[in-house]
């Protein structure tokens, strides 16, 4: 579960939303509406006001690093800080076995980061975020740089994680993705969230 209440950051908010266990919620809206700003604020990566909690922890009650282990967040561009892929994982050997799930060879765990394409980095970053075992995960354009086949693989992976209880909050411009993940769609514009009409989803 992920619950956000009266969240305010810059021109965004107050925003409230709730994603039950094992379900997904999609946010869409025009470019520059602040969708990424909103996700960053929920992750407490920027100063903001308001409340957020998962099933087991309230954001205000725990240090930020603990909060971020309960709520994963995958920004649109992934960050890498070491030379090799494996140095970015806590359990590289266990995670290696999951690489086929994102259509990458198990050997990729031993590659250098510089060798990866943007899409490969993004998929690896997804496994990296799941490795922590978050209760909820926020994804910013999770499949925008992937081809149809890998997109389907990633969505299947996400569906399996949801079946295991993971809540997903997804920012997407893909009009069909929310339906494939069974996610209701909210429209962010002028700093406010509202249920999206059919036309708005297609417009985005």
């Amino acid at each position: 579960m992920l619950e956000v209440q009266d969240l305010k950051r810059l021109h965004i908010g107050p925003v409230s939303l709730a994603v039950p266990d094992g379900e997904a919620l999609a946010i869409t809206g025009p470019s520059g509406a602040g969708k990424s700003v909103l996700l960053r604020a929920i992750a407490d990566l920027d100063p903001n006001e308001g409340h957020a909690r998962t099933q087991s922890v309230a954001r205000e009650a725990v240090p930020a690093p603990i909060w971020r282990r309960h709520l994963g967040y995958l920004p649109a561009e992934s960050g890498w800080w070491s030379e090799h892929v494996r140095e970015h994982f806590r359990h590289p050997e266990e995670t290696r076995a999951r690489l086929p799930e994102i259509l990458m060879p198990e050997a990729a765990m031993d590659w250098e980061v510089a060798r990866l394409s943007t899409g490969e980095r993004h998929r690896l970053a997804l496994l990296r975020a799941l490795e922590i075992g978050p209760e909820a995960l926020m994804l910013d354009e999770p499949t925008s740089m992937l081809d149809r086949k890998t997109e389907a693989a990633v969505e299947a992976l996400l569906a399996r994680e949801m079946a295991g209880g993971l809540s997903l909050l997804i920012v997407t411009h893909d009009a069909d993705q929310p339906a494939r993940l069974g996610a209701p769609v909210l429209w962010l514009e002028g700093g406010r969230l509202a249920p999206a009409g059919e036309s708005e989803v297609t417009r985005a």
């Binding site: 407490d44 930020a64 967040y73 800080w81 975020a129 922590i132």
Partner: protein, 271 residues
């Protein structure tokens, strides 16, 4: 002690400048265009050093603790401004000046007080003849180290923002996420003094030691002085670099383990 000291006449100086004049003549003959800058910098050196000489002479003869303190404060303020000027990105507002100047003042003061009160013990302990040259050497090196460390820290935090935030998002603390970048900043700040200690006596004879030897001091005594100075400089630089880097990093993050790069300003606009 000053048995071998040889006084220079102004004629000696004039003769010493012959080689520089020769350089100027060559520059004019070959149209190198260096003669103006050579002449200006040589003149500046002469004027500045003459003024400093007069100032020091006056300070030594007046021998007032307050006047000495005033000069020390002026040195600190100038050095603080220099730390700020050497950073491509600085902390916004008063913080930019305060962290560099404050940590340098603390480190330099600790070290110079130890030197004057425990090691050299001149009478009076604040005697400007000892305090000012020593403080100048300690301050110059500390200033250099701090400005290098802060410049590196601020540049890497901006450049590696995504990498640092990726670790924060995986539940790392700000210290864990920035450890390699903090280490790189500290290393850069320590580098000049570490290099200077390693190369000294092999590649170059330190200026202070050369000066003492030229003024007739026994080389072994001069070496002892030089070693002490190196220890003092290294101590002050190390302390200053460490405090400034940690202070600036604390200001660039917050208690919710967020990166706050918006607190940095590029130096470009107000230059």
């Amino acid at each position: 002690m000053n048995t071998g000291y040889i006084t220079l006449s102004y004629w000696d100086l004039a003769i010493a400048s012959v080689f520089l004049l020769l350089n100027g003549a060559i520059s004019i003959a070959l149209h190198l265009g260096l003669e103006r800058r050579l002449a200006i910098s040589a003149l500046r050196m002469m004027v500045q050093l003459t003024l400093v000489g007069l100032l020091l002479k006056a300070l030594f003869s007046i021998a007032s603790p307050w006047l000495t303190l005033l000069v020390v404060c002026a040195m600190l303020l100038f050095a603080g401004r220099e730390i700020l000027a050497r950073q491509e990105n600085r902390l916004a507002g008063l913080w930019g000046y305060a962290i560099g100047t404050g940590t340098m003042t603390f480190a330099g003061t600790m070290v110079i007080l130890t030197a004057l009160l425990v090691l050299l013990e001149p009478r009076p302990w604040w005697a400007p003849r000892y305090a000012l040259p020593l403080f100048g050497m300690i301050l110059g090196n500390t200033m250099n180290g701090i400005s290098l460390a802060l410049d590196t820290l601020h540049r890497t935090i901006l450049r590696e923002r995504r990498a640092i935030e990726a670790q924060l998002l995986l539940g790392a603390t700000r210290w864990q996420a920035a450890r390699p970048f903090l280490r790189a900043s500290l290393r850069t700040g320590f580098m000049p003094i570490v290099n200077a200690m390693a190369a000294t006596g092999v590649v170059s004879l330190p200026g202070m030691m050369t000066g003492q030897i030229l003024s007739g001091v026994d080389p072994q005594e001069a070496v002892k002085y030089q070693i002490m100075i190196m220890f003092l400089i290294a101590g002050s630089t190390g302390l200053g670099v460490l405090l400034a880097t940690l202070g600036s990093f604390l200001r660039l993050t917050d208690e919710r383990h967020r990166l706050r790069p918006e607190r940095l300003r590029s130096a470009a606009p107000d230059r």
